[in-house]
Symmetry: C2
Subunit: 194 residues, 2 copies
């Protein structure tokens, strides 16, 4: 097991996060709120049927275009045979669960660090229920999206059960992906100019 | 370029989708609505800091547990240096854009097939704006999630501009991920029993 709390050189890490860099980031944003404004981006190309591929690399944040990534990330969506595909990749609603799991986890880890709580173990199990009559347009009363998503969190940390419960609730409320799912977020779809 | 409309043996494909298999699926669901109920799942394990990894394989749908995947898919969330990580992977809010891009695309392709429209090219560009004061808990009036997400779609298809615009609007309204983002979906976070 990796030590999640350590001092390397003059840098102190808690939960794998450089505590001074984190404090400096918070101070910089408090001093100039515009540094907190980020724009994330993806481009996606259809391949065939339920297969398509996203490329993710650049983003804007902390007042500038990021140039830290030597190469782009690529991810392939696919569908299982029961949804007329060949398992070319996980499907989009499954990738949403991955995004949600990761975001709640990172938000939890970040705020644990801010509270001085060391985490030993953290894992989550997600289940999302969906009725595909919505996607298929068979029943207008059925929402096309998830009906609900349930997350079970396994966690061991250096704090009381009460502190852990409070941190879980805080992470749920402050996770960007969880908030994007829980709250209505406007999405526009516009045709490209030729 | 792959031919997206083809007859292979006795199977007819449009946009890479087996049209008879699609019609059979719709007929089966109309006959038994419970076949449309799916449950997707992910498990995620924290690694360190902003790095964590999801495993996705099994799901329930069409009345049974799926067994079509020989191996699990795994995906790694990470964070860029400006967000205190080492680009271990794309970050969760970027994975959300990938999920959204793929879902709108697949929904578009599926309903184009249902309408007999052949697609030649389809790609999307997504931009999502977010203010990280929400995540950091610095200002309670700032939502932690995306403020808005804008999708630009490039598409060439065998139909009129009017049919294309109608299909775009239909795909936006019926995409499960788009609907999950646009509409408030309940998420629960519960601590695992020991």
């Amino acid at each position: 097991m990796t030590a999640q709390s350590a001092v390397v050189g003059k840098t102190t890490y808690l939960n794998g996060i450089d505590t001074k860099a984190a404090a400096d980031t918070i101070a910089a944003i408090k001093n100039d709120k515009s540094l907190a404004k980020f724009q994330f981006r993806a481009t996606n190309e259809w391949v065939s049927g339920g297969e398509n591929r996203s490329t993710i690399r650049d983003f804007f944040g902390a007042g500038m275009e990021d140039t830290s990534r030597a190469a782009a990330f690529t991810f392939t969506n696919g569908e299982p045979p029961v949804l007329l595909g060949n398992n070319e990749g996980a499907n989009p609603v499954e990738f949403l669960l991955h995004a949600l799991a990761g975001c709640v986890t990172t938000t939890f880890v970040l705020h644990a660090m801010a509270r001085g709580i060391a985490i030993q173990e953290l894992s989550t199990e997600l289940k999302g229920n969906i009725d595909l009559q919505g996607l298929l347009g068979l029943d207008d009363s059925v929402p096309p999206g998830y009906e609900r998503i349930d997350i079970v969190m396994h966690v061991k940390a250096d704090c009381s059960d009460e502190e852990l419960e409070d941190l879980m609730s805080y992470a749920q409320q402050h996770s960007p992906v969880c908030n994007t799912v829980c709250r209505p977020v406007p999405v526009t779809v516009t045709r490209a100019m030729r």
